[in-house]
Symmetry: C2
């Protein structure tokens, strides 16, 4: 997708180097981070220079390929890569696939890694094409968190249909949930939409019900981190709230995700463990002042504790459909992909 | 209520001076702001040194009394006071009542102002006593925004039952919605509860549904800015979301407010105009860094617009009951008070 009018992918390889958009510096600074060896790529995953399931998967594949190409201890590298973000499903898929190919030759390892990245990009493109068919001209779409191209290699999941509809001239408008505590909506989704020229408005997470009550939202599309075989979907904290509100107001609520997100080994949402993150993400905020200087500030009463669950699980009964690269599915008709 | 173990009210009078807790400096600094004449008190209302319906009402009454006591042009003062926060219902009630008394003597004006403040304090105390009867031992209570004693002269509305239950040794726990964009939950409610020693946890507004789904919330209590005669209630943006979530999970949702909040001239929530505030409240945040220095920082993508509706309207059908100083009422049985 475009940044300042130039086409970029989130992450890519140039000979033996891995290059990626530095997502820790967004939205205030756009810069490319270079990783000259697999260890540097691992560090980029750990410190979230690259984030989002699809982009992390591509990074893991690239890192594994780098290990083979530099004749590093690939068994050790495999363990290091797999321990960067231990809950990321796409990460293991990528590292294992590239490891299996690399046993034959470094060139095959690199080809496997490039294939994984391309597969992710193609999934995003197809989610866009299929999701676009659900979007009516003039639609006002609510989204939560960032499931845009920055979370994948390109196109994204929840935002892929948005980009397709915008390109098709459908005159859409996107309402972007701020997505506290980390603000991925206000920071990353808004940045993506701004760069693509898609009309959009950031709203506080608290305002979604008011907009729905006023008839200002036609559909909701979010991504998912994992979809259980029964259709329950884990995604960024607050997704469940939007799904309940959408049901209350009779508004369609879609999950858009590559079919690799569907985990047939997870039977229901009850089997998904909710990660609890540091309370500082709630109590503090980071941003730039009027002079462009970065500060981290306390925005809550000193001495009060906070609870920071990172995800919630939206039950299948609240989800209108699942927009995957294989088609728009409904709960009860989910098809796995990683096993394919 | 207590601050560092010492009892305070939100606003009070000492001879001809009006004193108030400076709420612009909370939660990072506790200081008392003194207003030596009615103009200073008006400025304190305008710049939100004092905020919250009940506290603003008391401030307006005190300002009107100051005008009479200093032999100012009281007609001019009345207009000035009434234009400080033009949508605050309690403000007009107070200024008009004190004006009517002041026509007879400055002493009667001051007495009328003191009576209004005392009336507000007593309403809070009684809301606490009546609301406490609804709270079971060990209850986990969710609240939104700040309807605590800082918004009134003392005790508060939504938090008055919380304080009463805590004093009664009921071993309660309060989950405090951060309440973006202005963060009154994280900043003011948490500060109040911390000072009173009430166990509490700040949560992102996005986390309420997860807590409800996990059975961690037994009841919701919020305040209200205005209650229509049919029971629809306007309150801080996000209140509607919590009410819909509570209904979805079968959790009681109470509005606590002095009966003066019930406006029999407003037939339904449709008649309540939603104030739209500056987008900077969404896009920027103010707080202190590790060295105690205050900064205002941008926390969103530069160039993206935001929408900032200040209130929403919760329909009566979502509200279990209204905790007023006159009793716990249900929609269809609301009694006005300003007309009494």
């Amino acid at each position: 997708m475009k940044v300042n009018g130039v086409h970029y992918k989130t992450i890519w390889m140039e000979s033996a180097e891995v290059l990626m958009i530095d997502q820790n510096k967004l939205p205030f600074e756009f810069s490319i981070h270079r990783c000259s060896d697999y260890k540097a790529t691992c560090r980029a995953i750990v410190n979230m220079t690259v984030r989002g399931a699809g982009a992390i998967g591509a990074a893991a594949g690239f890192a594994m390929a780098q290990a083979f190409m530099s004749k590093a201890d690939t068994e050790k590298a495999r363990l290091e890569i797999n321990s960067t973000r231990p809950t990321a499903r796409d990460l293991f898929y990528a590292s294992e696939k590239v490891f299996a190919a690399g046993v034959h030759s470094p060139a095959l390892a690199q080809q496997a890694a490039l294939d994984i990245a391309l597969e992710n990009e193609n999934a995003g493109r197809n989610i866009g094409i299929l999701g676009n068919e659900l979007i009516k001209p003039g639609a006002r779409i609510l989204t939560h968190c960032n499931a845009g191209w920055l979370a994948f290699v390109d196109y994204g999941s929840a935002l892929a249909p948005v980009y397709a509809a915008h390109k098709a001239g459908k005159n859409i408008h996107v309402y972007v949930d701020e997505t506290r505590p980390r603000g991925q909506g206000a920071r990353l989704t808004a940045w993506e939409l701004h760069n693509e020229g898609v009309p959009h408005t950031i709203i506080p997470d608290n305002a979604a019900a008011l907009l729905m009550a006023k008839g200002m939202i036609d559909m909701v599309i979010t991504g998912a981190d994992r979809i259980a075989s029964n259709g329950d979907a884990a995604n960024k904290i607050g997704t469940l709230e939007k799904a309940i509100l959408a049901k209350h107001y009779g508004i369609p609520f879609y999950i858009a995700a590559p079919s690799s997100t569907i985990d047939m080994n997870t039977l229901t949402g009850n089997d998904i463990i909710i990660e609890e993150r540091s309370q500082d993400e709630v109590l503090k905020q980071t941003g730039i002042d009027d002079h462009g200087n970065m500060h981290t500030i306390l925005v809550a009463s000193p001495g009060s504790p906070a609870y920071n669950p990172a995800f919630d699980v939206t039950l299948a009964e609240l989800i209108t459909g699942y927009i995957t690269e294989k088609g728009v599915l409904t709960a009860g008709h989910l098809t796995p992909s990683l096993s394919s």
